[in-house]
Symmetry: C2
């Protein structure tokens, strides 16, 4: 099947498909075009180049053997013809050609194909507010923009940076600027909390606190309305609530799939953008494949067409496309939505649906969260891990899991195992409770945190364990004048001593060990909220109190969750 | 369903089942008996107590809130009656009672039950060789023995320790003794390599080298025949090949399930020992449950009854048993065999079948191994990870994966994701190639190592990539006088320079970039073995050489694998 393969787009999927196809079909002819000057770069590494962790921009363009992946590399080492600064204008499916334009000379011509691969990627959104075109207002998805930000940092030209958008790139960029360059950095997110598409409000509050610890100002539920300039460069940012000094503004409010060229050619696209492909990554024209940031993918949990622009998905899809181009039969069934992000000292990671997404997809879902050490509690090196599981109540089906931990790799280990379950099965809470993960004290607990979160959820669903989220506990406590609630703190006496003294009659310190003898101290005419160190002792107390006729709610994750939220009492 | 539950065994499964049952059925009566003095301890932590990582033996008996889990704790806090130093002699299924003996007073009595849980665990094997009963010859599965070893170390009474058995506990104990206490330590394994039930010879050689770096002597394929004593204590160990000084000998040659009491009572047991249970963890008598180290479990990949004594499995089974005792319907379907072990600086981890196990189970299996960085190659913090995948050739089904890495948690992340696949599906290489794991540069590569190993195996199975294991490459090289092989080193010239000078005409340094121009330098009348840094460049070279009519084999994992083996040329 030696044929002429034309690939539009040379960043992630394009190069992967090109090289794999040439390995399978050395006699095939491959032309890869890109509208930019740089190809085959690790765009996900941009925040780490800006932060200084990655020493040079070239590192993002090199192979692991430090060879720059430029057009010459692709032509000489891979046998792939590369045309940069070449924009695809239209696909002519009848003639099987693509009309392209040289972005420097303006010259147009038609490039023929036997098979076409659309790997046009996505474009960062910039809201069309007044001042959006001022100098020092940018996005950071291409190397040129990354270089500009990094140079401005290095030249100490930035005093007040504002990041618009509390998604992955926004948080990574904020951490990079505030940590490495000591720049006064603000994140503005229009929705109620950070990572709104990835986390619950409770976990997002932990993310927020971790970034605030680095001196970053986080403003949520706030909308940017205008940018003001001075001498053509941005100097102020105006929201619906305030005016901020801003000499650099980075928009990271999401991306739009570059699928217009496909839609114009009559290929089936999703109403909200993104090319629709089958499991072979073929568009509605069997001679045209598409993948990466320009396509929508089936969410394997909800069954819906979804959009998840990640370089890792693009790379895997590129290989599938190449195999199929060479006459093979490889499939990419869809995705469950697995992600991770490094913050300041902490990390967040997740897979599958959040509670909001699950309910939107029609599930009768509930989320249960908890804190547990990630290794044997007697092993010296260990960390508290926050995990939140999203479950469909009637079927007990696990729909997703999100987490937060100082050890990002340990967190990833739990999330990736759940991600694998979600991809290949419809796991229930029982499956998660018995998920067999590798155990030895330096790596995990005998009853691992990933099993325990299922056990906690099992008890919650059975009605045995009545819980409130950390945020609910805080607002219950803050409104104690109205609701007359009392807190029973089950930690050892010395741990709760100060709070008991500060709030006499409101914050009772009754260690689990003394509960039987001191049950009478707990008022029976007021709402009782339990809290302990991580939540597990208070569960046992709740069971005993229930048998004594005292109803209560237990604060998920206990004081450990409060600490991660930055909450004091 | 308030009833009297009797539990034989109080270490891991017993306490878990007891506490969970009491939470579900506060009115139920639970009696837990154990023949020892200590109950509910973390036996897996013993090597870390001996190494000093865990500061006191009590730490292995405490809850995470530092409360000692002694009989009083269970009685007062959990409502569980505990009888220690109480040995079960026989199960009387007709009367529904167990005859027990007090190990101190010798007094015997019958304890009645409505439901019985057998959690008798396992006993470490001691081969009946002459001298096996000398002083300072022990196993290390109980706290008393652990205390004895640790005290002898602390008193500087051990000069020459010999560990018999190259399994998990043997390696952990060897590392503990050699590292913390500077003791001359030898491991003797009767089979050909360390971790013979868990690893291929190639990965096992990496494990060996890591331990040797700590000064541990490793003797494989060697059988202990006798222990010699002086004043009643061991002083020499004799093998079929040599005599060693030995003032402390630790046997860790596996354990035997304590299932005799069940067999005597007529319960169905496996011919090689171990109680047979159904997915509800019920024995052949529905009123008797069993779990933990005394049962055999279904291997979900081979379908065979297998034995895997791990505390993590015991804990999860304990919860399942308790739920079922309380009238619930929980199942434990079996296991795939997931494990991890911390060595000296390195770690090993695996899941599913090894190549040997797969072939023994009737699969037409092959193993493919590789080396890749565990994070984006441009990210500063990263490590080379070794992964080996075991695949059924006709069906391309993934049967197992094993690995080796300095970052044990990062390795666990990959293995646990594969373990989850193996538990819930019959994944193929394509599934592994597209396994969706969390990606961001500080955590993973865009084409992650766990995906790449599937891609490498895909190319090997397709006949595109002809490989030899690192061990095969070494023996091919060592026999070059007979086979006249030539090595083509595809690393940058400076990397192979010394070897090319040392072995003129035998070790050719031809960097990938120069291959096209220098193809004529490669002899066509001799076997050609390719090697590069990690194996991937040499794959591209192999494809190009094949088109030029030159056949070759590529050394899996390249020089990175050689380095981990401690192999120099």
């Amino acid at each position: 099947m030696a044929q002429h393969v034309l690939i539009i787009g040379g960043v992630a999927l394009g190069p992967k498909a090109a090289c794999r196809y040439k390995r399978l079909q050395p006699d095939g002819h491959v032309t890869m075009i890109d509208q930019g000057s740089y190809i085959s770069y690790g765009g996900c590494g941009i925040p780490y180049f800006v932060s200084g962790d990655v020493g040079s921009m070239d590192a993002l363009r090199q192979t692991s053997a430090h060879v720059i992946r430029d057009p010459e590399f692709f032509e000489k080492m891979r046998g792939v013809e590369v045309l940069t600064q070449t924009r695809a204008l239209s696909i002519n499916r009848q003639q099987k050609s693509v009309t392209v334009e040289n972005t420097v000379s303006g010259e147009k011509r038609d490039l023929p194909y036997d098979k076409l691969v659309i790997a046009t990627g996505s474009s960062p959104k910039i809201p069309p507010i007044p001042g959006h075109d001022l100098k020092n207002v940018s996005t950071v998805t291409c190397l040129e923009a990354a270089q500009a930000v990094q140079s401005a940092c290095a030249a100490r030209k930035i005093q007040h940076a504002v990041i618009v958008g509390g998604g992955f790139i926004g948080l990574e960029m904020a951490a990079a600027l505030a940590d490495q360059w000591g720049i006064q950095t603000t994140i503005i997110e229009v929705l109620d909390h950070l990572l709104p598409a990835q986390l619950s409000p409770n976990l997002a509050q932990m993310v927020r606190h971790d970034l605030e610890e680095l001196g970053i100002t986080v403003l949520t539920g706030e909308k940017v309305t205008e940018l003001k300039g001075k001498d053509g460069a941005v100097c102020q940012l105006i929201t619906d609530k305030r005016t901020l000094d801003a000499d650099y503004v980075i928009f990271s409010v999401g991306v739009t799939p570059n699928s217009q060229i496909a839609a114009d050619a009559g290929l089936v696209c999703h109403p909200r953008g993104g090319i629709v492909v089958n499991s072979h990554m073929q568009t509605s024209d069997p001679d045209i494949y598409a993948g990466g940031d320009c396509v929508v993918l089936r969410n394997l949990i909800s069954g819906e067409q979804s959009y998840l622009p990640l370089g890792s998905l693009a790379n895997r899809q590129g290989r599938v496309i190449a195999t199929n181009l060479a006459g093979g039969d490889d499939v990419f069934e869809g995705m469950v939505g697995t992600w991770c992000v490094k913050l300041n000292k902490m990390n967040a990671c997740g897979t599958g649906l959040t509670l909001v997404q699950a309910r939107r997809a029609g599930f009768d879902a509930v989320a249960v969260s908890m804190e547990q050490l990630d290794r044997a509690h007697f092993y010296p090196e260990k960390n508290m891990m926050s995990l939140e599981v999203v479950v469909d109540k009637p079927s007990r089906r696990v729909l997703g899991m999100q987490g937060f931990c100082v050890d990002g790799i340990a967190l990833k280990a739990r999330i990736d195992a759940v991600a694998a379950m979600l991809q290949f099965a419809r796991p229930t809470l029982n499956d998660l409770a018995n998920l067999e993960v590798a155990y030895a004290p330096p790596f995990a607990a005998a009853m691992d945190v990933v099993n325990t979160v299922a056990n906690v959820a099992d008890n919650v669903l059975a009605g045995r364990h009545k819980v409130v989220g950390a945020g609910e506990f805080v607002s219950m406590w803050e409104r104690r004048a109205e609701n007359h609630c009392v807190v029973v703190d089950g930690r050892p006496a010395q741990a709760g001593h100060e709070l008991a003294e500060k709030y006499p009659g409101l914050w009772l310190t009754i260690p689990m060990e003394e509960l039987a003898e001191r049950m009478h101290e707990i008022p029976r005419d007021r709402p009782v909220a339990l809290i302990c160190n991580s939540g597990s002792r208070a569960y046992d107390m709740q069971l005993k109190m229930r048998r004594a006729g005292i109803d209560s709610v237990n604060s998920e994750g206990g004081m450990q969750a409060m600490k991660k939220r930055g909450q004091t009492f």
